[in-house]
């Protein structure tokens, strides 16, 4: 250690705002509160909403989005984006279908599919980091590429007739709660990603990269390696979602989950992840996915047509982004005078 003299012993407070304000006044908490409001209102107004069958369908519907959002969030926090996730779901579905059709068991076919996803993600990551291409352009390309491969491999036919033990498991519930068993898998993955993103050095690096790639590189953070790892995880997670998708609908098709990438990105952005990188937290992301899911489910039950549901969720997304910038603006105005007087 160096020998810097210390005569003044001043203690800095760790936080500028009290705990309750730090927890309550966040973008993420606003989405959580909105989710609770939607759930409560829908339960009171719609007798069919708070039933086991609705809970099951709602959660099964959003499971692929929930899974992929776990990796989309960190990818977007570094300032990248992965648009190829929906296509990867389709490709993974086709791989599982073809392998089981030729006699493979579901677990081994699923593992191969996840491996394919990881490789696809690595291709994205290397193109982005090695050649300095924007992730948006690269993954628009692989969006078409992976979808093309999926449809090329299987044509327009569909493979059905999977092992019933596995298709039943995908739809099974925990007791009479109506909560699908696949939620257990999701919660385990959620726990892993929460720790990875919020409680490891790796996670701190993810945020630093999103805020300033230069400063991150000057701090000895492996910028390229971190970004590639996240793309690999994104591909693998999409493939896992593809396996689930196939089993749930007992159908492997090349065009499975077309357009899913936009649903994922919309939910992640709603959950408070900045498209410019550097900002976001997983509780907000999960709340964002569930909010869109619950809202559209409730509106459907209320007899609202799907085009109107799209309009409503679209408006919600735009409003949330505006509200986010507005809050940041208000905060920047409030914080500045305090710190200048403190440092003057």
């Amino acid at each position: 250690m160096s020998t810097v003299s210390t005569e003044v012993v001043k203690t800095y407070s760790d936080y500028g705002r009290p705990l309750w304000r730090r927890i309550l006044f966040t973008r993420e908490m606003a989405i959580v509160v909105l989710l609770i409001v939607v759930l409560v209102v829908a339960s009171i107004q719609l007798p069919r909403f708070a039933t086991a069958i609705t809970v099951t369908n709602l959660l099964l519907d959003v499971t692929p989005i929930l899974l992929i959002s776990l990796t989309m969030a960190p990818v977007m926090i570094t300032g990248d984006i992965d648009l190829s996730v929906g296509s990867m779901v389709g490709l993974s579905s086709v791989v599982v279908g073809l392998l089981t059709h030729s006699g493979w068991s579901i677990p081994s076919a699923g593992l191969v599919a996840i491996l394919v996803g990881a490789v696809g993600g690595m291709v994205n990551g290397l193109l982005v980091t090695r050649f300095g291409l924007p992730a948006l352009a690269v993954t628009i390309g692989t969006l078409a590429l992976y979808r093309g491969m999926a449809i090329g491999l299987l044509g327009t036919t569909a493979i059905t007739g999977f092992d019933r033990t596995w298709t039943q498991l995908a739809k099974s519930k925990i007791g009479d709660t109506g909560i699908p068993s696949v939620m257990i898998l999701f919660l385990i993955l959620l726990a892993i990603f929460v720790v990875l993103l919020h409680f490891t050095s790796f996670g701190r690096g993810v945020y630093a990269i999103g805020l300033s790639k230069d400063a991150a590189a000057f701090s000895g953070i492996h910028v390229a390696r971190t970004r590639v790892i996240l793309f690999i995880l994104s591909g693998a997670m999409s493939a896992l979602a593809g396996v689930f998708y196939t089993l749930r609908f007992t159908t492997a098709r090349g065009d499975n989950a077309t357009g899913l990438e936009l649903a994922v990105i919309a939910a992640v952005v709603l959950g408070g992840v900045s498209v410019f990188g550097g900002r976001g937290a997983l509780h907000g992301v999960v709340a964002g996915v569930l909010l869109i899911g619950a809202l559209s489910n409730a509106l459907r039950l209320a007899g609202v047509t799907s085009d109107v549901i799209n309009i409503i969720t679209g408006v919600l997304l735009v409003l949330s982004v505006i509200a986010g910038s507005l809050m940041q603006w208000i905060q920047s105005r409030r914080v500045r005078p305090v710190t200048t007087t403190a440092s003057a």
């Binding site: 160096s2 760790d14 050095s201 230069d214």
Partner: protein
């Protein structure tokens, strides 16, 4: 050529400009006459660029007057300056790479034909005429992309002439040019002078200044020092005027025992950036790397630290060779780099103070890869105290701190990694005098503790006041290694402005 009796085309008197509490210009005077090439010289930070930006309409002066042909002008935009006949040719022109030479010259003011359609034929004919007038051969139809810097400057000049600019300001135009290109530029400059235009030539190269210009103005510390005809002055005289001030003994330099070499750099080369750079820094030694902006000093530092690659040569710490282009290897060997650009490279501005302090050492303080906010805060707490960072709380964003306190956060971040070698690029740029002295005192204490320090600085007093040894770079090469005893403003400035063969 110069006719002091005539009314100057452009005259500035007592111009000042401050940015917040930083005074960039105190009292700048400058008078440019038609048919004259006027040189403007001064150290880095003397205020030359600020003055140029005021003339170009980029900045608005705080006080003083600016006259064109005896009439006061107040430019609010660069367009107004252009309309008044002032054109600036920058060191690195900004052309549209995908557009043709012709389109670049007429960007934003294309001649229109019938039905407001762009008259391409007229446009091309005019460019051919302009380029012929300048005596240069550049294909008017080729895209600007791939043109040499010299050609790009010629196109900027053509643009200026097509606007009928009467004042041409060239801000270090020769810095990136080869000998032949410089000659061509000078030929163009002389023909423009003979047309009666006023030229301002900013350069650090005295041979060029004395070759091309007829009048020279010296600036120092944001103030006007002198203007004299080139014929009646000398390089030595100009250097003395540029450096001027006595180097004060503000610096708390302490004598400490110098130990074994810690950092050794041998024949480090990155083509086009720096070549054959060799030096060593010993334990307890503060070595300054001086030179002009753009001499390649920061690039050498970045290569040593592994942020940038190098093609040949070696970096060793305590005799152990480091792999090229690996920041992690450099860090684990005990090198720390406090970068030049605090806001972009040193700190994550939108991140908190505590995150910034721990950014470089997180792998050392985490437990099996896991880290909590509490660990980070505890660690940041102790370092913020050691450096007396002034912040409201540890979760204040770094961007809200003052420049001096931001620099303390960067220092904390790197001192926390207990380095053996500290590379510190412009340690006191843009920070107030009080913090400056603190940073200097801290550097001496660190050297006293046996740290090897390589300090890059563009401030001569700092270089002379702090360093045990001064290395000088000029255009990517080391041109001098001057021990403290013989280092003077003159010896350092001379080495910084001259090619190595002239020194040897």
């Amino acid at each position: 050529m110069d006719n002091p009796q005539s009314t100057p085309v452009l005259e500035l008197v007592g111009v000042s400009k401050s940015f917040g509490s930083v005074v960039a210009l105190r009292t700048a005077d400058l008078a440019l006459h038609g048919g004259s090439i006027h040189a403007l010289v001064g150290e880095n930070g003397a205020g030359k660029s600020t003055l140029v930006k005021i003339m170009a309409g980029l900045y608005h002066r705080d006080s003083g007057t600016m006259d064109i042909d005896g009439h006061v002008v107040n430019f609010k935009t660069t367009a107004e300056a252009k309309a008044a006949g002032i054109a600036v040719i920058y060191q690195e022109p900004t052309l549209f790479p995908d557009l043709s030479v012709t389109e670049n010259v007429f960007m934003g003011r294309q001649p229109l034909g019938k039905f407001r359609r762009i008259d391409r034929a007229a446009m091309r004919a005019e460019v051919v005429r302009l380029l012929a007038g300048l005596g240069v051969r550049i294909d008017p139809d080729r895209p600007a992309d791939g043109l040499s810097i010299a050609d790009q400057q010629i196109i900027e000049i053509a643009k200026a002439i097509s606007l009928d600019a009467r004042v041409l300001i060239m801000d270090e135009p020769t810095a990136a040019l080869s000998g032949v290109e410089v000659e061509r530029l000078f030929a163009v400059a002389r023909s423009l002078r003979d047309q009666g235009r006023a030229l301002l030539f900013i350069s650090h190269r005295f041979d060029e200044v004395f070759d091309l210009c007829d009048t020279i103005t010296v600036m120092r510390d944001g103030s006007y020092i002198s203007t004299s005809p080139i014929a009646t002055t000398s390089v030595a005289e100009i250097v003395r005027l540029m450096v001027g001030r006595e180097v004060t003994t503000l610096f708390p330099k302490t004598v400490v025992p110098i130990g074994e070499p810690v950092l050794e750099v041998t024949s480090l080369t990155r083509p086009g950036v720096f070549s054959d750079v060799s030096f060593s820094v010993r334990a307890g030694e503060i070595v300054a790397l001086a030179g002009l902006v753009g001499a390649g000093r920061s690039e050498v530092a970045r290569a040593i630290f592994g942020v940038d690659p190098y093609t040949s040569g070696a970096v060793t710490v305590h005799g152990k060779r480091l792999p090229a282009h690996s920041t992690t290897a450099a860090m684990s060997a005990g090198i720390a780099l406090v970068p030049e650009d605090r806001r972009r490279q040193g700190l994550v501005m939108n991140s908190t103070v505590s995150t910034n302090v721990t950014d470089a050492v997180r792998r050392n303080i985490d437990k099996l890869g896991f880290i909590s906010k509490r660990q980070e805060n505890a660690f940041a707490q102790s370092w913020a105290r050691k450096l007396e960072v002034k912040t409201a709380a540890l979760d204040s964003t770094a961007g809200t701190l003052s420049g001096g306190n931001q620099q303390k956060v960067v220092l904390a971040k790197w001192l926390a990694s207990s380095p053996k070698v500290l590379i510190i690029d412009e340690p006191t740029r843009g920070i107030d005098v009080g913090t400056k002295a603190e940073v200097h005192r801290m550097m001496c204490e660190l050297a006293g503790g046996g740290m090897a320090i390589l300090m890059i600085s563009s401030e001569l007093p700092e270089v002379l006041g702090m360093a045990d040894r001064v290395l000088v770079m000029h255009e990517g090469r080391l041109t001098a290694d001057i021990p403290r005893a013989t280092a003077t403003p003159e010896t350092v400035m001379f080495a910084a402005t001259h090619a190595p063969e002239e020194v040897a």
